[in-house]
Symmetry: C2
Subunit: 327 residues, 2 copies
DNA sequence: CTGAAAGCGCTTACAG
DNA sequence: CTGAAAGCGCTTACAG
């Protein structure tokens, strides 16, 4: 900055009042002040271009207005939608959101958790949390964690907001089963993130018995593409693929297109998330629709009254199968 | 939080040292400390689970580690890529990024600028800044603003990082001209955001004289779709559309598909940004490629040494025409 | 190599 | 309705 910003003392001096009074004006206690006092403060503040320091405020009140949100990949459109929803709801509570990428990486996540502690974040929202000692320690010590869409382990008692991943997997498995889809393949997400495993286990249960080719993949287009290039090279079979998320499905679709494999005739593709872009750019993709824009309000409610929402209290959002052309 | 976090005083007490010494340990001044002192501090901190408060630190040092980034729409994949790039570069400097949506709305932007002042943000990065009195006032008073990809006005002297929007518009106009494209249409972005106008003016200049149908649109798929539905209803002509960004182009493409208009035979579409998804989901879209991942490093450099980069110092990134099927 | 003390910008219980 | 004063968690110049 060009020069240091004015402080509450500057405003007090200029208005001829005390810092206590100026503070009352800026912290919503105008009610107790005399009308002419209010006017003096307003004018002085205006003249100086004063904005109260959130730092001083936070230190004094022992709480910040910052909420940290950790996501595996902010460039995933579904994640972006969820983050936008959360940001908006948080702003409604006068809170700011700090977005950070954990990149499906435990160490990176732990580093960011340390940052969140340093910032004394009001809450930490973890989408795709990874089970690490540090995470468990924080979960035990503080009650300001919220898991989104994936819960790293059953025995960590932290509120969860998201769909029932297992049930969604079952629904897809049943759908495959009813349709008589052949040679099921599950390109699931990374093992350390439990949501991936729940989706997979549900899928297996829903298929009740059929043997499933299981492939692990990161939640990226490139990874889905690579996996597909591999198993599709066996042209003697027609596969039916359940992808851990839409990104993976995009990759599979591209691989199929390059290999001139017809969807859905020779290859069934099912995604997960149904990010908003699908309607516009992938109107062919059958997928599990997760209500991205319901996350913000649910999370905001949890943050607003952490007491009510005892540890472990969860919000389970609805999902549905969005059937289009690919399955 | 369950209980209040330990403070530097707790660590001092437990280790039998002074807060000054503990502070030295945590602020990278270990060099001056005796080895056994270091060990004591480490153990005490470990035992208490102490992490220094960024709040206390910020207040004392009169600077925060927070950088605020305002974007028009974080769910735009191009924006998400830029934000990811910025976040990564900032983390490399030990800074945190607060992402906020200004929604192409001057009032919302001004509110967020006030928040940034309150947080005493180290820097404020504005993608798609809107020219408001408050913005001008902040630009005049502080030198921690950075404009990204759009500069609200020539006479606001703030460093700019982005491409030359006018030149890119010219390039597209020339391309249309050389190809002899008929009935040029410009679905440009909102007038208040200057980048839109620069792209448009460049396009007009590049076409040198042809009359152009100019339509204003927000940078959203839905808006592009609506505009296209309207002007495409005149089936007697074949149009050539330059879109303000890829989102608009997606909307136009969908409208064309629904109306059974062939691209590029009966409708030429040109986008802007070339977000990463294009390669996977819109491999038909000809567009202007903007190097999203070059923004972070350039911005980080500007923030790192604000002195060197005198006000108004800018970084102009290269663009190129990415020709695919639609033009 | 280490500590006592001042002070960063706020808020609020207390007193008037 | 208003103010003086204490204190939130740090860092650092100064002194030893």
């Amino acid at each position: 900055m060009t020069k240091k910003p004015p402080t509450i003392r500057d405003v007090a001096r200029l208005s001829g009042l005390s810092t206590a009074t100026v503070s009352r004006f800026f912290s919503g206690k105008e009610g107790v002040l005399a009308p002419e006092t209010i006017e003096s403060v307003r004018q002085a503040a205006q003249a100086l271009g004063y904005t109260p320091s959130e730092i001083g405020r936070s230190l004094r009140l022992a709480r910040t207005s910052v909420v940290m949100m950790l996501v595996p990949d902010a460039t995933n459109p579904f994640t972006a939608d969820v983050a936008a929803s959360v940001e908006q709801s948080l702003n409604g509570l006068g809170l700011s959101m700090v977005l950070a990428n954990a990149s499906e990486n435990g160490d990176q996540q732990d580093r960011l958790l340390a940052d969140a502690e340093g910032l004394r974040a009001r809450a930490v929202i973890l989408q795709g949390a990874i089970d690490t000692p540090r995470l468990r320690e924080m979960a035990a010590r503080r009650n300001n964690l919220i898991f989104v869409n994936r819960r790293p382990a059953e025995d960590i008692s932290v509120p969860y907001v998201g769909i029932d991943n297992y049930a969604a997997g079952v629904a897809v498995g049943r759908y495959f089963s009813e349709r008589g889809y052949q040679n099921p393949v599950a390109i699931h997400g990374p093992r350390p993130s439990s949501g991936s495993m729940e989706r997979l286990q549900g899928f297996l249960a829903g298929l009740s018995g059929s043997s499933v080719l299981q492939l692990e993949s990161s939640y990226k287009m490139e990874a889905g593409y690579q996996q597909a290039k591999n198993f599709l090279s066996d042209r003697s079979r027609r596969y039916s693929v359940f992808c851990g998320n839409d990104m993976i499905a995009y990759g599979v679709y591209r691989a199929a297109a390059e290999m001139k494999i017809r969807v859905p005739e020779d290859l069934v593709i099912f995604g997960f998330d149904d990010n908003r872009l699908n309607e516009w750019l992938a109107p062919w993709l059958s997928t599990v629709k997760v209500p991205a824009f319901d996350f913000g309000p649910a999370i905001a409610r949890l943050i607003e009254k952490p007491n009510e929402g005892a540890r472990g209290k969860s919000v389970i959002l609805p999902f549905k199968l969005q059937i289009r052309l690919s399955a």
